[in-house]
């Protein structure tokens, strides 16, 4: 398959070459005709789809060969059927989880950005509270979740708080690092220009921190979905987390897998939204 495509490609390239062969000086030009962005996107999509197809084929064949019972691992066909027949259930449970993750993600990230700015500007506050932040960070979410459910009840609040907590730490750590990532020459440049601390912050540090910030926001966006789902396990009657518990206890394995697909799509959508935002904001980074 692969060699086949390459051969066709070369043939096309050679065709181009003979057309342009009249000019002998273009010795250094690449042999292949440059691909348009669309062509390269299609090419990427092709391999990704092929990867999925192979994975599903392997999944199905293992079930067939080893005779795995459907309630342990459902065949892909059953999961597909559940995705269709249980769509309404899945969709209505995705909405609360999405609200919790997005809400938590925004609160957590915003809090982290504000705290990072405070930490970078005040060494005393940073010295006092950074250790506490690091200690809290080491507590696993699954351990904090019950505490928060006890404190905040069974509603939306504990889920949002857990999603916020899980988004908070990577963003805080990265943002502090980003704000401090200024190189000595830039600092000297701003000093020669007699720039104020405020100007150094708004015209240098903020920009330097943006690539760091987006790297952590991408992590936080998917982590916030994990946070919301875990929080729903502890105590909830709606949301993808609740649906996972329900499907597991009722041995509805196909529904369980379909729920995982929905959770994964939710995380991917959030990730893609942040990646898109990054492309719009951080335009100066070389591709």
């Amino acid at each position: 398959m692969k060699t086949g495509t390459a051969a066709t490609d070369d043939a096309a390239g050679d065709g181009m070459k003979t057309d342009a062969a009249a000019t002998p000086q273009d010795e250094g030009t690449p042999r292949r005709a440059p691909r348009t962005p669309w062509q390269s996107h299609l090419r990427t999509a092709f391999w990704v789809i092929l990867g999925f197809v192979v994975t599903i084929a392997v999944w199905q064949s293992i079930i067939t060969i080893r005779d795995v019972p459907n309630y342990v691992v459902p065949p892909p066909g059953d999961v597909w059927e559940s995705l269709n027949s249980d769509f309404d259930t899945l969709w209505s449970n995705t909405k609360p989880t999405a609200i919790e993750s997005i809400g938590g993600f925004m609160i957590g990230s915003l809090g982290a950005i504000v705290l990072a700015i405070i930490f970078v500007h005040s060494r005393i506050i940073s010295r006092m509270f950074l250790p506490i932040v690091i200690v809290i960070r080491t507590i696993p979410v699954v351990a904090i979740a019950p505490v928060l459910v006890l404190m905040l009840g069974n509603g939306l609040a504990p889920k949002v708080v857990i999603a916020a907590l899980i988004s908070f730490f990577p963003t805080l750590v990265n943002m502090v690092e980003g704000l401090q990532s200024v190189d000595s020459q830039s600092v000297e440049l701003f000093r020669v220009l007699s720039a104020s601390k405020w100007e150094v912050f708004w015209k240098l540090r903020i920009y330097k921190s943006l690539p760091f910030l987006f790297a952590s926001l991408k992590i936080a966006s998917t982590a916030s979905v994990i946070g919301a789902v875990v929080a729903e396990w502890i105590g909830s009657d709606e949301g993808l987390g609740a649906l996972i518990i329900l499907a597991t206890f009722n041995f509805r394995t196909s529904l369980l897998y379909a729920t995982m697909v929905f959770a994964s799509i939710l995380a991917l959508v959030l990730f893609a939204a942040i990646a898109l935002l990054e492309r719009l904001v951080v335009r100066w980074q070389p591709e």
């Binding site: 440049l189 020669v192 220009l193 007699s194 720039a195 980074q285």
Partner: protein, 266 residues
């Protein structure tokens, strides 16, 4: 005319006066003396080049003049006033080794930076038009390019334009062409001399290259290391405009040899 300028600048008030300056740093390896009891005077409108072995404190000397460093002992005066006053009054321009452009700003926005910070262009402070300056350094048509779209030589041109936008009286250049290829470097040397002729700025130019030091400077300050001090000062009595052919002249070769010998004993 140039010899007039030379004598004039020597007699008149100095643009830069470093008197018995010592700079010590505390490092992990203990105290390091970067500059020891260094005195140097650079006249108004002069172009002086500074050369010396690695670690002789060439960059430290520039940073001392720019008020990026304070002397441990001694005095630094720019136009008769302490160097921090010159810095705050925007009398100093600094060109860094690797351009130090802000990658999120286009060429023109980089040149505009000095007008936006530190009081900027307010209060009737003199400044030049950023667009005109970019044209002057040869970036016509590339005003809106981002630094990563420009070659190393073009980036350094932008950073020179940025340093000139506040109309500084003193331009401090820290091995600005050190990372460029020989051809680009030679071309920028000629262009720097043109800019100097047009702006009448006092320039202190630090370099590693004997050729560059002699080609550009009215005076070559040879420094020696451990601790950094002025080893010798060699005048270059060759008139301007200087062209690349100058490098083949006997005069040039003789002075270059003089500088080389001074460096060997440094």
């Amino acid at each position: 005319m140039i010899s007039d300028q030379l004598t004039d600048s020597r007699d008149a008030q100095a643009a830069i006066e470093v008197a018995n300056a010592t700079v010590r740093f505390n490092t992990d390896q203990g105290e390091v003396t970067a500059l020891q009891d260094l005195s140097v005077e650079i006249g108004v409108g002069q172009l002086a080049t500074v050369i010396g072995p690695s670690g002789c404190g060439k960059s430290t000397l520039l940073r001392l003049i720019a008020d990026l460093l304070a002397p441990t002992a001694g005095n630094v005066a720019v136009f008769g006033a302490p160097s921090h006053r010159a810095r705050k009054a925007r009398r100093l321009g600094f060109v860094f080794q690797d351009a130090a452009l802000l990658p999120w700003r286009t060429a023109i926005r980089n040149v505009e930076l000095p007008l936006e910070v530190g009081g900027g262009a307010s209060g009737g402070r003199p400044h030049r038009d950023p667009g005109e300056l970019l044209d002057l350094v040869g970036l016509n048509g590339r005003h809106h390019a981002y630094p990563q779209e420009l070659s190393g030589g073009m980036r350094q041109r932008v950073s020179i334009a940025r340093a000139l936008v506040t109309q500084p009286q003193v331009l401090l250049m820290d091995e600005p062409f050190g990372a460029l290829d020989a051809i680009t470097r030679g071309r920028l040397n000629v262009e720097l001399l043109n800019i100097w002729a047009k702006t009448a700025t006092t320039i202190v130019f630090v370099t590693h290259s004997i050729d560059e030091a002699v080609f550009l400077g009215q005076r070559v300050i040879v420094m020696s290391a451990n601790p950094g001090r002025v080893h010798r000062e060699i005048d270059v009595p060759i008139g301007y405009p200087r062209t690349p052919d100058l490098r083949e002249s006997t005069e040039f070769v003789t002075i270059a040899a003089q500088v080389r010998r001074a460096l060997e004993t440094a």
